[in-house]
Symmetry: C2
Subunit: 548 residues, 2 copies
């Protein structure tokens, strides 16, 4: 069945049509520097200016039943206070709370909604667009700045910047614990001739529970419950890295290890040229170089992967200095919700050619060590991710992640799916077949919600059909465009007073400008004797064997 | 003797000429809304864009001899690190450190420079432009955001915003201690029928030292040494207010008391109209209204007082949303130094018509209580401030403030006066008579520094002649224009998503728009039976008896 596109919006359809057709014209634009620069600026601004720009007038602070820091009760009216404008530990929001919608008797029981996410007959829908590297990357990357505070879900533990906190830690104190203080490097160890972070646990024979954290890492972070429950065998290979979630899955660890090696490699390059630099300067400059290199990958490889356009976005820091959206970052709950891609992870992985339940890859660093960084990247890119959407979340994640997201959205009194469509300049939908062409999706939405106006934000986001040749639905894509572009390009390292050779050194400037893909970073960080792996988000490139 | 104006800069002279002549034309501009809006935007941008905009690539962090948070030694090379870009507890700087200049054997002994600031033959030079309210206001206002950390002078304790921290405290915790939690009000007491903050000390008869802080204010702040050394009699009238320096002088206290009364007055007005609001909403909204009202006074009354122009600047928040200078605030040492107006304070005050050494007004709240708020405002405005410049600092402040400023500038390795002139688009001076027409100033500068290129930033700032009909020298004025405009107008309460009736309520919106002078605020906050005081920065208005 075909989706009814009458509510896609004329201007939206026109834009998408223009950007997904006229390949030759876009090729010409992309290869004409001035035109490319102009188109890049126009399209990025066009993406961001769909909604009012920061500062957002309300944060989750308004929902606290007491005055923060006291036990004095207050009304949960929605209004702007000086504290709510300043305190970024409370998560931001694009639309004000809608208590009426969320008290509605019409909303289905949140637990029942698990059925909307659970696979139908256990059947997994693969992604036509993306390799498994894609969800790995997204989980790793977004975990650096989308960080709900487990102690109070209205709050967050984010620095609100792309600062590679999962590699370097969220605070200078943690960074210090991870540094070798020699040659600018991060602490590391060699295993099978490859460089990894140091182990987190002592793991001595005298320790019957294999549960003693190394003295040097005692203050790194508060361990997750899930980590402390791991077997002694798994604990033996837990690495000391920037955040408490960094060991959670081999994809996350793989990307962190890549960054560690690249950081230490950059330090050696810098030290060779700038022999008078001390450890501190080498460390700080390498970090700056790596952050910007990863931001370049984010925009030029990752973002271009999720969009179905013929135009490829570029990082052009000087283009946006006078934009109204160039404001202090503040992560919003909507940005967090559009990145809850539990359905992009398959139930089973291929590991050394054999099928393996994905749960085995959790806290499973031995799998990475056995295969080596290059080997794991290669095999990760040889398999598909799964399609983002309803009816496609692995069983073990449905109750653990999807249902809590629904509940959190209600606690935060998020506006309805249709309200968010309107905010993003999509017409409100009037029928279920305008959301998805999948009859099962339509039927289930109708059964649960009765009317399209009762559909919640979170459900609606993932109920939408993924656009052709895209990895995500239209509302997810639009919200990502708004918050990602407007919070990546404001990074202080990209400011015109900072983005120059003085900051990065001529050596660093060259690294930044000559690195154009994740694959290049991986290739230069695996032992010389090894075969060069394929590293790509793009399933088609693998199928067409573009990287043999 | 006349100053040699050949190094004032052609464009600078032209601008000043245009703005200080053609009174009729400027009157027409000011009274033609669109023209006024355009001129306001043009002139404010013209003031700010004299130097590169934030983020500033270097902070004082680069001067730390160890890695902050550790005792690990590092070189004090000047480079940009992620930490230095993020950690605003280190004070910002417009120009990088100049170790060569500051190691120069040519710099005079800092203690000897006291002679440059000390009065000649004890003679005080009065200000032709300003009443004593002017230095009182400046000390009070700037103390809210220019806050050197006494424990490490490379750092600061500022929130980097105009948030009336001297009234409300620097942290929410302190704010809570000052709140009554009834009707949105700040805690207060009535003395002689006038409203004041509560006293800070118990001052019970059982306390022989009269030194017991009230239990409720124990965590307010760490007392200054100077406060703890006060007599029991003076301690008896110390008020509990937002910052540790708030009781330091009666002018500071007078302005804090005005804000307290205005806050509580606004709360009553709001409560009358919005009867369903709880204490928290009343408090937060009153605070927002007061902050914006004071910012309006800053730009429209205070800034227009210090400039000699025929055009009066306005707060027009919507005009600057697309400016490149609209970046996260970060107080700089240069902004701090241009506000060290120790010479603007006279040695002696008139109090109830009698001369009184200014030292007696330190920690002397009884003087305010005796005269009442209106009386003290009135008498303050009946006397002159003193002229800002060399040879005019009260004796007790020379060693305590001027010499330490010189020393701090050297520790921070500030660039030379001429380098700062160049940064601000003034030609470098080549002779002493281009700085000041005062032969004594020229002679002393030559004796101390030998060459104009050896003059330090701090000395140079105050050696410059005050411009006709202005309160400050040209370099001071220019640096204030840069940092003040670009850090006031970025206040989150002025952002276009926030500056509206939703945030301030219709009642608050009216207060903001209908308050145009400090005098109006004072008049509505003194007991009805009292005579209305004259409240103005402008000496001429008092002389011409414009406010009888």
């Amino acid at each position: 069945m075909v989706r009814d596109t009458s509510k896609d919006g004329f201007k939206n359809k026109l834009t998408t049509y223009a950007l997904t057709h006229f390949k030759g014209l876009w090729h010409f634009v992309q290869n004409t520097p001035l035109l490319e620069k102009w188109a890049n600026k126009f399209l990025i601004n066009n993406a961001i200016y769909k909604v009012p720009t920061r500062p957002l007038p309300y944060s989750m602070m308004t929902l606290e039943p007491t005055i923060p820091g006291t036990d004095i009760a207050k009304k949960t009216d929605t209004y702007t206070s000086w504290d709510s404008l300043c305190d970024r530990t409370y998560t931001g929001r694009h639309l004000p709370p809608d208590p009426t919608f969320n008290q509605s008797e019409v909303l289905p029981n949140s637990k029942d909604l698990a059925d909307l996410f659970r696979k139908r007959n256990g059947e997994t829908i693969l992604s036509e667009k993306s390799t498994l590297l894609f969800p790995y990357w997204v989980q790793w990357f977004t975990d650096g700045f989308l960080r709900t505070d487990p102690n109070n879900r209205l709050k967050n533990t984010s620095n609100h910047e792309i600062d590679l906190s999962n590699v370097y830690g969220l605070t200078p104190k943690v960074t210090h614990l991870l540094r070798a203080f020699q040659g600018g490097k991060l602490k590391s160890q060699l295993i099978n001739g490859e460089e990894y972070p140091p182990f987190y646990y002592e793991y001595t024979d005298e320790d019957p529970d294999k549960d003693i954290i190394k003295e040097e890492f005692k203050d790194l972070y508060k361990r997750l419950g899930a980590e402390s429950r791991q077997t002694a065998e798994r604990k033996a290979t837990i690495f000391a890295m920037g955040v408490e979630r960094a060991n959670i899955q081999i994809g996350y660890v793989m990307l962190n290890v890549m960054c560690l090696r690249e950081h230490n490699r950059i330090c050696e390059l810098l030290a060779k040229t700038y022999s008078s630099w001390d450890d501190e300067r080498l460390f700080q400059t390498a970090r700056n170089i790596l952050i910007v290199t990863i931001m370049k990958i984010v925009v030029e490889e990752y973002v271009n992967h999720i969009t179905p356009y013929h135009f490829n976005f570029k990082v052009d820091p000087s283009a946006f200095t006078r934009e109204k959206w160039y404001r202090r970052n503040w992560m919003s709950i909507e940005f967090d919700f559009v990145y809850r891609w539990h359905s992009a992870l398959p139930d089973t992985l291929l590991y050394k050619g054999k099928s393996m339940p994905i749960q085995e890859s959790l806290w499973g660093n031995q799998l990475l060590i056995n295969q080596g960084l290059g080997g794991l990247f290669h095999e990760t890119c040889q398999q598909s991710g799964t399609r983002i959407g309803l009816f496609n979340t692995p069983d073990f994640l449905v109750e653990a992640t999807e249902v809590p997201s629904i509940k959190l959205g209600r606690r935060m009194q998020l506006a309805s799916y249709n309200d968010y469509r309107e905010m993003c300049q999509f017409p409100r939908v009037t029928d279920f077949d305008q959301i998805s062409g999948d009859e099962a999706v339509q039927k289930s939405l109708r059964a649960f919600y009765g009317s399209v106006d009762n559909i919640e934000f979170y459900t609606g986001l993932y109920a939408e059909d993924v656009r052709p040749n895209s990895a995500i639905g239209p509302l997810v894509g639009r919200l990502i465009g708004i918050d990602a572009f407007s919070q990546v390009l404001t990074n202080p390292l990209l400011a015109d007073t900072v983005f120059n050779k003085d900051t990065f050194s001529p050596v660093g400037w060259e690294i930044i400008h000559e690195t154009n893909s994740l694959q290049e970073i991986v290739h230069r960080n695996i032992p010389a004797a090894q075969q060069l792996p394929t590293v790509t988000f793009d399933r088609k490139q693998v199928i067409e064997n573009k990287f043999p």
